[in-house]
């Protein structure tokens, strides 16, 4: 058996802009069970244009780490079914997207929920669970 050299190489990192949106299927899952697999499936997900995915060497089903100064999450990538020009990726608003949002609001009280910049890199880790997002805040 050969050595899997790839696992010792760090995946390239890119900067990505992310905006959030609402999804009725995620909203339905939230109403039913916010701790359930269906809610996580719709939330722990980054939708990207085909162009951006090719540029970054990503495929649907890959998992990526999104990180910035405010937090990091691992989510699954999906190719957009829309004709997106690229340059911006999309996440359904959820605790996963909120992990990347600053609480610094310039004193105005409205965070930049829809204007996220993060570093993106391919990883083999499992997607971040709600439990692990919550973990450090349990009393």
């Amino acid at each position: 058996m050969g050595i899997d050299v790839g696992k010792y190489l760090k995946s390239p990192e890119y900067e990505i802009k992310i905006t959030t949106y609402r999804d009725i299927f995620q909203a339905e899952a939230l109403e039913c069970d916010r701790f359930g697999a269906e809610y996580m499936k719709h939330s722990a997900c980054l939708v990207m244009s085909k162009n951006d995915m090719v540029k970054m060497g990503l495929k649907t089903g890959n998992r990526v780490k999104l990180a910035n100064n405010y937090g990091s999450v691992v989510v699954e990538v999906r190719e957009s079914k829309r004709d997106e020009p690229g340059g911006i990726a999309f996440m359904v608003n959820s605790p996963w997207s909120n992990a990347l949002v600053s609480d610094e609001t310039g004193g105005k009280g409205i965070p930049e929920f829809k204007n996220i910049t993060a570093r993106i890199s391919l990883v083999k880790d499992e997607a971040t669970t709600l439990e692990s997002l919550m973990g450090s805040f349990r009393k």
Binding site: K17, E28, M134
Partner: protein, 402 residues
């Protein structure tokens, strides 16, 4: 027919099939409404210090926490009935507490200006009957208020719009993303870059004034021509637009002035956010972010995000899940103060709460009054029997215990 508490459309044409005191089936609801009415799988149970307890003890402990706090905050309110909201305002006054709701990081900026009559507005029924040009701006109603287009705006055959979307109505989407609503607005989708709304507004105002706009002149002139021809137009302001121009929100006012046949409609998510905004506005002159201290003081430092970071030492959350909806970076502040959570379901916030108090689901297990996104008062029905107290009763008991 009953009313759905799924979103601020408060659809009042819902049929429910009840079997063994459970809603087995709903008719006419959207996916979200059906899920809300059928109920969550994890009902909240009363607890104190993360241990199961009875509801009387939970209320007593909650009262003690609030009584011992020097700077308590009461937050949530968008998923509560008007009656509970009024009780909450009285509780906040009694405790000299800070009070805020989810509109603080949602549509509060717009609703405040609508209540101050800075914009022309209308009812959803006016839109159904009269509107010929519909602008969804930063709003994906198909996913957030899924029956908006079918009940009120694009598809119905209104009194003056008998030919509906086929001939009588034009729907336009202005958005960063080709949303499901934008898909419907075929040929009238204007894609803008993130934070591009301000530039778009300025260009559109130029086009409406007969000047050649600097930004996408051909498309802007084409859009201005459509808007100018409108007999009865509506701009549905979504969170995409609100967040994008939050630092210069009043830029919308001169645009609205240039469109005298248009009305501005806030696209509200939670079913009674507007109810809270109207109640607090009536009481204080402000829609959110107040501290009661003899009189009501309004300041952005009383917004939930700023208050959590700086000034509060206890938090009562009613019908909301700030741990889920706020930036994660604000959450550690929650871990340092006692949180009291009143909700029908287990939430992320309830999982860290010092006290949890379950309540009945409004519109399913208890009735009450609400205010639709357009300001129309709508009554919720009680569909099934329940042993849970409703949130007004819980707040009244808290008030007594104080």
């Amino acid at each position: 027919m009953v009313t759905c508490p799924g979103c601020a459309l408060l659809c009042d044409d819902i049929e429910v099939v009840v079997e063994n005191n459970r809603i087995k089936e709903t008719r006419n609801t959207c996916r979200r409404g059906a899920a809300r009415m059928k109920g969550c799988v994890n009902r909240l149970a009363p607890s104190v210090a993360q241990k199961p307890d009875d509801i009387e003890n939970a209320i007593k402990k909650a009262a003690a926490i609030l009584q011992n706090a020097k700077s308590p905050m009461l937050f949530g309110w968008s998923n509560s009935t008007c009656e509970a909201q009024l009780e909450g305002i009285q509780l906040a006054k009694k405790m000299s507490a800070i009070m805020d709701d989810t509109s603080s990081f949602c549509q509060g900026l717009l609703i405040e200006r609508i209540l101050q009559k800075k914009f022309r507005t209308c009812t959803l029924d006016d839109i159904r009957n009269k509107a010929d040009v519909l602008v969804y701006w930063g709003s994906d109603a198909q996913d957030s208020q899924p029956r908006h287009l079918s009940r009120f705006s694009y598809f119905p055959r209104g009194e003056l719009r008998q030919r509906g979307y086929e001939e009588d109505r034009i729907a336009i989407a202005i958005d960063v993303r080709e949303s499901n609503t934008a898909k419907i607005c075929k040929g009238h989708f204007y894609r803008i870059p993130p934070k591009g709304d301000r530039e778009f507004i300025l260009a559109l105002m130029d086009a409406l004034s007969g000047k050649v706009p600097a930004y996408e002149p051909k498309k802007m002139l084409e859009l201005a021509a459509i808007l100018k021809k409108a007999e009865f137009g509506a701009i549905f302001v979504g969170l995409g637009l609100t967040y994008s121009i939050k630092d210069d929100f009043d830029i919308l006012i001169p645009l609205a002035d240039k469109l005298p046949n248009f009305n501005i409609m806030p696209m509200v998510g939670h079913y009674n956010m507007r109810g809270f905004n109207e109640a607090l506005f009536k009481e204080t002159g402000f829609v959110n972010r107040v501290k009661f201290d003899g009189k009501a003081i309004h300041d952005s430092r009383y917004s939930i995000v700023e208050a959590l970071r700086k000034s509060i030492d206890a938090l009562l959350v009613v019908g909301s899940d700030p741990l889920s909806s706020l930036p994660r970076s604000v959450i550690p502040h929650l871990a340092n103060i006692p949180v009291i959570c009143i909700d029908p379901c287990v939430t992320l916030t309830s999982k860290i709460a010092a006290v949890t108090i379950p309540c009945a689901v409004s519109g399913v297990e208890t009735g009450g009054s609400t205010v639709r996104m357009d300001g129309k008062r709508v009554e919720l029905s009680k569909c099934i029997e329940s042993n849970y107290l409703n949130d007004k009763e819980i707040l009244a008991r808290l008030m007594e215990a104080l």
